[in-house]
Symmetry: C2
Subunit: 211 residues, 2 copies
DNA sequence: GACCCATGTTAATATCATTTACACACGAGC
DNA sequence: GCTCGTGTGTAAATGATATTAACATGGGTC
């Protein structure tokens, strides 16, 4: 009962999958023209339905964007969790993988990333969205927790602070330098290395590394 | 020859200051409804001219946005330079002031900040804009240089890398947590403290701080 | 004092978001 | 098998927007 609907081939009066198709269409359009260039009507066209059809599934344009962001946060959390992999083989290496995964997501899924962080969607207006973003952040936080417990008690920073620092650094690098073609600035090194170096320095600053 | 033009009082056929008035109007509108909600027509209305008038001064909507961003980068650079103040009274303290100034700008001038970093304007399409952003970055970079020269030769990191790290961290905190009302997340501490702590840890990680 | 050009205006086109009234179709119940 | 109801689409209408083209104004120049 699920077609694919990319504009080819006829279909009945009912689409069968409009909601999902619209999310995918939004992704493609955002990827192509940025979150601002994305248009409700064009998403409908791409899904092969009339301009009014999307309103049966989303209250308005922002609701569709929020849906994209929600799915984005879910995949983001999953990708981060996979990279962290419970801290194996060892926390430090897993932590590096986590950082790489963060940038990889921003680079390979710029549309999701845009919807999540740049579309200006108020997280607080949507409990599901907020919860999904919390789940993604929780991965980072728990990774920090693991790293912290491996530190001498005297050096342990507040978990939340450390997690926020890591997140801010990752997000900063991702949004300033981490996008494929629309990178805001030329870099002397790939973003991954920049982040890796930052994490090393930061962790050393916490005192968790043998000089 | 410069009025104020806020919709009050008559004016002749010519405005006299349209270009500047439009930039200011754009600022107000962006502040009020985000860069996406800003509309060319509304800016014209606010300036008291017909919807077509702005086209005499800006190629299109994006050009106006770029103008706002340009002015933003200029003020940003000036504000950062003032905060850094040549590294006085001493580099470490001045560096902290620099960080605070970064966040203060994002908080007190969210409209500029949005136009500069979130409106999706391609820096490369506009040499002036690129140059202005370079000037702002140069302040940060030169501050890093000063701090680095004060470090033991053995510990000195690459200037550019350090500047990029600081910028990314500041930008990350500013965009994730640093906006007045639209803050994306509740924080256990003010953004300024979060950034200050991050900078301390980072600098310690570089080895520039006496343990 | 006539003219030019920068700067505004009006009018027109095309596209959007969004709403309302209407159409179809599949499934529940008979 | 038939009928009705609800979930999904469609068509048409409204009001706003971006952008362009043709026309208007008026201050400054020669």
């Amino acid at each position: 009962m699920t077609w694919g609907r990319h504009g080819h081939g006829p279909r009945g009066y009912h689409h069968g999958n409009l909601k999902e198709a619209l999310v995918r269409a939004a992704l493609d359009l955002i990827a192509k023209k940025g979150p601002a260039g994305f248009t409700f009507a064009e998403a409908a066209r791409w899904a092969g339905v009339s301009p009014a059809a999307p309103y049966r599934h989303f209250r308005d344009r922002d609701a569709l964007l929020a849906s994209v962001a929600l799915q984005g946060f879910e995949r983001f959390a999953a990708m981060l969790a996979t990279a962290w992999n419970g801290g194996k083989p060892d926390p430090r290496r897993a932590f590096e993988e986590l950082g790489k995964a963060y940038l990889a997501f921003a680079r390979t899924e710029p549309a999701y990333y845009s919807a999540m962080f740049e579309a200006g969607i108020p997280l607080h207006s949507n409990p599901e969205l907020l919860a999904a973003s919390e789940r993604a952040f929780a991965v980072l936080r728990s990774a920090c927790e693991t790293l912290i417990t491996a530190m001498p008690a005297r050096e342990r920073p507040p978990v939340l602070m450390m997690a926020l620092h890591i997140w801010a650094m990752s997000h900063g690098i991702a949004s300033l330098f981490g996008r494929g073609d629309s990178a805001r600035r030329a870099l002397p090194m790939p973003p991954e290395e920049l982040l890796e170096a930052a994490l090393l320095i930061y962790l050393r600053g916490l005192g968790s590394s043998p000089a």
